[in-house]
């Protein structure tokens, strides 16, 4: 991202709460104008801390955050003009929905007629036009969520932060809200920084996803890149399902490596992504949908025999667990179509995959 386009810039941000451990380690991140950036990671990975630093509720221990190229480390939260949707909505229980929405306009001294107009517009945007007089306690979870979104947008901020906003909703509602938030983002041209630990939510909504682990951004890329081309074993494991083998590089030829899987069960040809030279250890990562069952002999560089251990019927595909190369947790997704021979548990078949679908990554722990 070219930096003149960026709305938010984290420069060398470090954060410690207790002076002993760093929660965020040397964070550098640009968020472009109009971008939907998701911070994804397991709990305790530092993503919420980053969001709180951006909102101004936590001071950065080191480094500087820029908003529109202005350093904001010393700007108090109420002067940052950043919208935020909190985890539990944080609606004011003693005010009606309309009063909640009018609050940010009121403290900005916007006169009453315009206030009403903008409140109504925001309510209409989230399809809650008739709910202005209700109290937050009288709303369902989804409605409260929408009010929270509307309130964060009603004062027209350039940047909106969302801290796991859909965590409390049930699955159907969550998916529906994902689309709604995405559409609002597109329609208003907002910049959104979104925090979640739910990878499918991140994949659905984002322009870019920053995967956090251990206070470090492991990879920051658009969803397809992140899924197809994970840079390291953590990202490969965290986003989507993957089969992994651990072994040692024995041969190297351009961007192709041969890795001997531990316990001498075989050698796999893989794409060199994030691994040292010959002799270094590596984790191989392979998506379940990239595996072919019963390939033509010689058509694929990697063909091994596998023992079907377990078949789970999932309608559109059959999830099959094989024992391959001594690993009994090798998952293959077999499309449910007439051309595929139907396997039975206990069958032994050949399975194979391409070298470029199998990524040789750093050795994970």
């Amino acid at each position: 991202m070219p930096s003149e386009n960026s709305l938010v810039r984290f420069v060398d941000i470090q954060k410690s709460y207790d002076g002993d451990a760093l929660v965020v380690k040397n964070l550098n991140l640009d968020v472009a104008k109009g971008e939907f950036l998701t911070m994804l990671g397991p709990s305790g990975s530092g993503k919420t801390t980053c969001l709180m630093m951006l909102a101004g509720f936590e001071p950065a221990t080191h480094g500087e955050i820029f908003l529109n190229e202005h350093p904001i480390n010393r700007v108090p939260p109420h002067k940052r003009g950043i919208g935020m949707v909190f985890q539990n909505y944080a609606l004011f229980p003693h005010m009606t929905v309309a009063e909640n929405l009018a609050f940010p306009l009121e403290v900005r001294n916007i006169d009453k007629s315009e206030r009403e107009q903008r409140v109504n517009r925001a309510l209409d945007m989230v399809q809650l036009g008739a709910f202005g007089d209700r109290r937050p306690a009288q709303l369902s979870g989804g409605q409260a969520q929408r009010v929270a979104v509307a309130r964060s947008l009603v004062f027209d901020p350039d940047l909106v932060l969302m801290d796991e906003p859909l965590g409390a909703l049930d699955k159907n509602l969550r998916e529906q809200m994902q689309y709604e938030i995405k559409h609002i983002h597109e329609n208003l041209g907002l910049t959104v920084v979104y925090v979640t630990h739910d990878q499918s939510e991140a994949l659905t909504m984002s322009n870019r996803i920053a995967v956090f682990d251990d206070g470090i951004i492991q990879q920051c890329d658009p969803p397809p890149v992140l899924y197809e081309e994970p840079n390291n074993a953590f990202v490969a494991g965290f986003i989507g399902e993957n089969n992994r083998f651990v072994g040692k590089v024995v041969e190297e030829d351009g961007d192709v490596v041969k890795v001997e899987v531990d316990n001498n069960v075989g050698t796999v040809i893989a794409k060199k992504v994030n691994v040292g030279g010959i002799g270094s250890r590596s984790t191989l990562s392979l998506r379940p949908e990239r595996v072919t069952v019963n390939p033509e002999p010689g058509s694929l560089p990697n063909i091994f025999s596998g023992l079907a251990e377990e078949l789970i019927y999932l309608g559109d595909h059959i999830r099959t667990r094989f024992t391959v190369l001594g690993h009994d947790d090798f998952i293959v997704k077999i499309p449910n179509s007439a051309v595929h021979a139907h396997l039975k548990e206990g069958d032994t078949v050949n399975i194979g995959w391409n070298a470029e679908d199998c990524r040789a990554l750093d050795p994970s722990d």
């Binding site: 909102a55 101004g56 509720f57 108090p76 939260p77 109420h78 002067k79 940052r80 003009g81 950043i82 919208g83 935020m84 909190f86 985890q87 539990n88 944080a90 609606l91 004011f92 229980p93 003693h94 609050f103 940010p104 403290v107 900005r108 309130r151 004062f155």
Partner: protein, 419 residues
């Protein structure tokens, strides 16, 4: 659909033809009985130790039966009297008969009651009663011989105040009013006016103590609710410690602190803030009552406010600031309104306890720090004017209910959170 058990108009029946209502009743009877058993002990406790005593207090405050039972004939003769001429022989005879037939202790009690209506009655009745055995008709002369005040019509006229079996006299007394002989309500003479001042002072003290408690408690409760657990637990112990200490010990501690040669005055003199002959009078007066009562009642304010604050999610303050409110504005617009149920509960608790307070004003109040509670105690224990004490108690109860009603109108009892 099998055989439909009920017609459209008839009552719903269960499968075996019993009306549904009866069947439901039967199935719930056991659980209702159990609930009743569980609630019985507190209910009995409430009836015996709350409802009956209060009922007794209410009846006592208007009761005037005793005198009517002791002097029935006298009151009859009194009714026949024209209230202007000299008391007649018939009246004296009636009085003689009454005094002769009455128990001695009843005469004593009656004379005390009569003394409330008109001072002097007690000695008059006592002196007369002592000689009653030797009296012979004509009784008028015998009575006048025993005490010549019997010729004074005022004593006889004052019987008019006592002739009914129910009286509001104690209530009027409690607010510095009394009956004249025709049962009109009049002001007490100035030298006998004491209670109105005490009523106003009691309400003033209660309000001042409530306000002082609120001002002191709010920040403490806020700290308790927001500090990290380890520190807030320590603070909570500091709040509760005085609560666990004997009331008397605390009051004595305050005496040591606040008296003329107490710690506070000594410190101020030593620091040169006040001169030695200008020591502050903080004890045995109005100030002492306020200071000590505030300290004693403070936990009653802190705890309800704290319990409400504890339930306010910290994210609300963050949200308010994020939406553009300064921390102060966020506190006033978002935090404070949500603590109102706690403030209301704390205020009403402190006010109700304060308005009936007795021991603290007794010990540190001195002359101008006494409250109505002390008067109730005085009439219960010293003057034995239980009717007046009961009337005062009833008025206190009424004032509390009045404030409770006002509170309900303004804030709503449903919003109250005791913690």
């Amino acid at each position: 659909m099998s055989t439909a058990p009920a017609t459209i108009d008839g009552p719903l029946l269960t499968a075996d033809g019993v009306p549904l209502k009866a069947s439901l009743e039967k199935s719930l009877r056991r659980s209702k009985l159990r609930a009743l058993l569980l609630v019985a002990p507190p209910l009995l406790f409430l009836i015996f130790l709350f409802v009956i005593p209060i009922g007794n207090m209410l009846t006592r405050s208007v009761d005037d039966k005793l005198i009517n039972n002791v002097l029935p004939q006298t009151f009859e003769a009194f009714e026949a009297w024209d209230k202007e001429s000299e008391p007649s022989e018939a009246m004296f005879e009636a009085l003689y008969n009454d005094l002769k037939s009455a128990e001695k202790t009843d005469i004593g009690k009656a004379s005390v009651r009569m003394n409330y209506a008109l001072p002097g009655w007690r000695s008059l009745v006592k002196r007369t009663a002592r000689k009653i055995k030797k009296m012979e008709p004509p009784y008028k002369e015998a009575f006048v011989k025993a005490d010549d005040r019997w010729l004074d019509n005022t004593y006889w006229l004052s019987l008019g105040i006592m002739k009914d079996k129910r009286t509001l006299g104690y209530y009027w007394n409690a607010i510095d009013r009394t009956y004249d002989f025709d049962k009109n309500v009049i002001h007490q003479p100035d030298e006998r006016k004491v209670y109105n001042l005490l009523w106003w002072r009691t309400i003033l003290v209660s309000i001042l103590v409530t306000i002082a408690c609120l001002i002191l408690a709010y920040p403490v409760a806020y700290l308790l609710a927001t500090l990290p657990m380890r520190i807030s637990n320590l603070l909570m112990i500091c709040v509760l410690m005085p609560f666990w200490t004997s009331l008397l010990v605390r009051i004595v501690a305050w005496m040591i602190m606040l008296q003329q040669n107490g710690v506070v005055n000594d410190t101020l003199v030593a620091a040169g803030i006040i001169s030695d002959d200008n020591r502050l009078a903080m004890m045995y007066n109005f100030n002492g009552t306020i200071i000590v009562m505030t300290q004693i009642l403070l936990p009653f304010m802190i705890l309800p406010i704290y319990s409400v604050m504890k339930t306010i999610p910290p994210s609300l303050m963050k949200a308010a600031q994020n939406l553009g409110a300064t921390p102060t504005l966020a506190f006033i617009r978002v935090y404070m309104p949500q603590t109102i149920p706690g403030i209301g509960a704390g205020c009403i608790l402190v006010f109700i306890v304060a308005i009936g307070y007795y021991i603290t004003p007794e010990l540190v109040g001195g002359k101008d720090g006494r409250l109505i509670g002390n008067m109730v105690a005085y009439h219960m224990q010293r003057s034995l004017n239980w009717g007046l004490a009961a009337a005062m108690g009833t008025i206190l109860l009424g004032v509390i209910l009045l404030f409770y009603w006002v509170y309900d109108k303004i804030i709503g009892i449903d919003n109250m959170k005791m913690g």
